[in-house]
Assembly symmetry: C2
Homo-oligomer: 428 residues x 2
């Protein structure tokens, strides 16, 4: 048997790529100058957010499964790979379902995907329970192990069974399907087994593996940070013949045409990198991650995924146009929400600070104010920038780019700034 | 101060994305039926291999740096982010340099990028040495610490200085540049400090952080495995109006047109996933990774990056055409080399098995044969398939797809197959 560390790391890498896959169609949408930004992208953004959520749900299910199964062998590793491949089909089948809502095939493919994932995970559970040395120590020593096994199987097969009935019913009554699928309530509380810290309890305070939250988040931050350089590497290497024709052989002139792309990437990488930095600072002091904290993290990451497009748009439009102002304001809103959900994780952790936080950042800890400052910096700056651009819309571009440039320095000098602020507050 | 674990994980995620970024232009090349596969893609493949190598060199430098610096603080984290952004520019500037070899701008941009990376890493070193609690325990206790510091700075600035002189000289004599850049020999052995296990010794047996090799490899395997589903998600969701026009509203018919893409993805994910599985099995039993093993790993990963395109091509051409045969043979060659370099890592580790391998897989260990079998499976199968397709070229597609389907089962049943084989051999 083997430690599951590497398998989980690979799974998190895969899942983070799949969670963010639907940003690409969004980022690659050509936006004309005379079209409103919102209308063109709304469907694609909705698909992105939905697939991000769906993949995150699959990821959370994966975490729960591998908190029960703590050692793996070759067979489990291969079963997991099969499970991963099915997970990679989720965004595509969902996208088909969303693009062809009146066609049964989309629903069947998506539900079929979910069902096969459920079947594979059930096989994994059955295999693991028939080789109990693979399981969590607590569960191994359980007397009612088979009871726990059926409990887990029930939980795993819940969503796939809903999908199964949805598919079957859709073959008969299409309208009924829509109602069934979209009105299925969140599973209620489950019979509790007091001996075991239930990993399948669905309580908000259920522990979530901190290592996996970090690995998944790192994956998403890395992918989003580099999204635009991927496009630059692929599309913005000028064709030599075109350079000769249009720019008289001057490479500098040809590259100048890509100025907006470079600036968008620079801003995008800097912002995402600093948001990662805030996330990293927070999780250094988090000792335990609960499911609610994981949920807030998911929301934060979903907004982070919107940043590349937002930055692209801020550089795409003519100066002082309405679209440019909208793009800047959208960027501010996205940055605000990405940061505010990170701050929310900290606030939620403070409520149970004995369990979830390191003493330094608890309510009276020496690093408490500093951590608050780090997490509040981006939301505050985004809020201020948003209102400034509302008032002084003519200088919105300058204000926004000024913010981009000063925030990194604010992070570097954060300690000084916080002490300054505290001194001022004490003086007043 | 903080553990560097999360920072290094994020850096490995970023670097693995950047190392593989130039696969995208290769995979997205439209190949006409009447053009030979090789000629069209050669330059792009060369650019991919070169950028993969360059980014891997930067990654190795990063590893060495953070084997010396074992704890980080906020300032180092931010400096590292800046270093990362510069690393993300390497493929693009190299691509410009390769596409416009007669233009000085390409060389200047690439060399400038390398120089700034060197400067940032030097700042990191200077910062770390002025806060010695951040350093490796061994180095902290060194008496000649400032000597070691200048040693490290010399190593870090070596390549950037070469680039500096290359840029300066290129502004004068262009031909001289080509010779200087391409003939710079690998740095020779360095004065050894017997007290410290030199992380900057450049000896082939220099230890390489196993955790980082795994993290980087996981990143590459994950990206390559999902490369084609990214394209499917972005390009293969049919437009509803087109479906009505061309397929009379039948979604099934529209999706059938994408059959080749789906098959290519399935084969690509399965093969890359199983190669990851072999890699994972190997590294479970590796206790120490040397630089030479890391180099072999890099070669294996570089070939893995070619698999998506290879699989795409096998499904793109008309049945029994010359191009299809070539595509299948190229796929076999790529799989062979990806697997043989993994096997080479194991063989090289066997030479120093006391230090590098777990007892189970050493020469007389109980898992030895089994590990050999796992690592030799893909190379052998690829070799056999290659020769079979040479002989029976009419059935090449069937043979290749048969191989794709049977190898996963071979992995699952590997123990049985190995025992069967050994029994047969003993009988003879
Ligand atoms: K990744
Ligand atoms: K765009
Ligand atoms: K990672
Ligand atoms: K990506
Ligand atoms: K192609
Ligand atoms: K990883
Ligand atoms: K990618």
């Amino acid at each position: 048997t083997q430690s599951s560390h590497r398998l989980l790391n690979y799974s998190d890498a895969l899942i983070s790529i799949i969670a963010t896959v639907m940003i690409l169609p969004v980022a690659h949408t050509k936006v004309e100058d005379n079209e409103s930004v919102q209308t063109l992208l709304t469907t694609k953004i909705a698909v992105y957010l939905m697939t991000f959520l769906i993949v995150t749900v699959a990821w959370a299910a994966h975490i729960r499964l591998f908190q029960v199964i703590v050692r793996i062998d070759d067979c489990l590793a291969l079963l997991n790979l099969a499970c991963m491949m099915l997970i990679t089909f989720l965004p595509y089948t969902f996208s088909l379902m969303a693009t062809f809502p009146e066609n049964i095939l989309g629903i069947l493919l998506f539900c079929g995907c979910v069902m096969v994932i459920g079947v594979i995970q059930s096989i994994i559970v059955l295999y693991a329970f028939s080789h109990p040395y693979l399981l969590n120590q607590q569960i191994q020593s359980l007397e009612s192990r088979s009871f726990y096994k059926s409990h887990i199987l029930k939980v795993i097969m819940r969503v796939p069974l809903v999908c199964f009935f949805a598919s079957v019913t859709s073959l008969i009554f299409f309208q009924l399907v829509h109602d069934t699928v979209f009105n299925t309530s969140v599973p209620g509380p489950v019979e509790e087994s007091p001996e075991v810290e239930l990993f399948y309890s669905f309580l908000p305070n259920e522990p979530l593996s901190k290592e996996r939250v970090e690995a998944f988040s790192d994956g998403v931050y890395a992918i989003v940070a580099t999204l635009l350089i991927l496009d630059i590497c692929e599309d913005n290497v000028p064709d030599p013949t075109l350079v000769k024709q249009h720019f008289g052989g001057s490479l500098v002139a040809a590259l100048k045409a890509y100025g907006p792309e470079y600036l968008a990437y620079f801003g995008s990488f800097a912002t995402v990198g600093l948001l990662w930095f805030a996330h990293h600072s927070l999780f250094l002091h988090v000792t335990r991650t609960t499911r609610f904290m994981g949920l807030l993290n998911t929301f934060s990451l979903a907004f982070v995924g919107g940043l590349p497009l937002a930055y692209q748009l801020t550089h795409e439009f003519p100066p002082n146009s309405r679209n440019e102002l909208e793009a800047i304001q959208i960027s501010c809103v996205i940055i605000f929400f990405a940061g505010i959900f990170q701050l929310a994780i900290f606030v939620v952790a403070l409520y149970r600070q004995q369990e979830t936080l390191h003493p330094y950042v608890r309510y009276n800890g020496q690093e408490h104010i500093f951590m608050l400052a780090k997490l509040a910096l981006y939301p505050c700056v985004a809020l201020v920038t948003f209102f400034l651009t509302c008032i002084l819309s003519r200088f919105s571009a300058s204000i926004f780019h000024l913010m981009e440039i000063t925030v990194p320095f604010a992070f570097i000098l954060l300690r000084l700034l916080v002490r300054l602020l505290l001194s001022i507050l004490r003086y007043i």
